[in-house]
């Protein structure tokens, strides 16, 4: 699993690739929370197009990112969900809780 971050003054984009599971979800959680709290931008975007698998601990990391963003008044947006990732969020009854788009272009639209 790899995480990289792109930043500008209004948006932080996390590009995550690989599988998110119990072995590495603490790294995802830590990276999301640290960046969200330090950058305090109005929009946080997570690119999941390279994520082939996500388990409940990965979903928990996304929930923590969502809550931290809400606490700071930021939007927390996901895009590029694979079929597997979408199924897991569906099973978690979270598809309507997260703001989700198909593409980066739509995620970054005003």
């Amino acid at each position: 699993m790899q995480i990289s971050v792109r930043r500008n003054h209004k948006t932080t984009i996390f590009d995550i690739s690989g599988d998110i599971d119990f072995a590495n979800s603490p790294e995802v959680r830590q990276s999301l929370l640290r960046e969200i709290r330090e950058s305090r931008v109005p929009r946080v975007v997570v690119n999941l197009s390279g994520v082939r698998y996500i388990d409940s601990s990965g979903v928990a990391s996304l929930i923590e990112g969502l809550k931290a963003s809400r606490d700071l008044g930021s939007r927390f947006i996901l895009f590029g969900l694979s079929t597997a990732a979408r199924e897991v969020l569906q099973l978690s009854r979270l598809l309507k809780v997260f703001e989700i788009y198909d593409s980066e272009e739509k995620a970054l639209a005003p």
């Binding site: 599988d19 599971d21 119990f22 388990d55 601990s57 897991v88 978690s92």
Partner: protein
């Protein structure tokens, strides 16, 4: 049979074996993914709760072809048994959290129950044994 240690790094290895096995048995792609998820979550629970994140404890998985008589027909399926030697599990804690709470944690058990037709926990001697079964025919939940 797979003999593993409780290091979270082995999760990817098991996922890489379970999905093709389910495919080989004829499960549709979505069910292969959900079986993979269920086994991954069950292993994660063993690592976290049974072994308290200790990475060197033994876990054994058994895979068997399952058969179930239903009326005049026989359902074929996949049975997966996960064994560990952690402390006895408190069955009252084997429940997921309500979905209406937006908080991390507690989803893994829901995923397991959603994916599998049978989820059966037993303790034999010093061994915790979790039996998961998925049938190829239209799912019928064992209560």
């Amino acid at each position: 049979m797979m003999a593993l240690c409780s290091n979270p790094r082995m999760l990817a290895t098991v996922r890489g074996a379970v999905e093709p096995l389910a495919e080989t048995l004829g499960f549709p792609a979505a069910q292969c993914r959900s079986i993979r998820l269920a086994v991954d979550e069950a292993l994660t629970n063993i690592v976290r709760h049974s072994y308290g994140n200790r990475p060197d404890r033994p876990i054994t998985l058994y895979f068997r072809s399952a058969r179930h008589r239903r009326g005049n027909s026989t359902e074929q399926g996949l049975e997966i048994v996960l064994c560990d030697h952690g402390p006895a599990v408190d069955l009252d804690k084997l429940r997921g959290r309500p979905f209406d709470e937006l908080r991390p944690g507690g989803l893994g058990l829901h995923f397991i129950h959603e994916a599998m037709d049978t989820v059966e926990f037993t303790r034999k001697g010093l061994t915790n044994r979790l039996r998961l079964v998925k049938y190829l025919a239209e799912a019928r939940k064992d209560v």
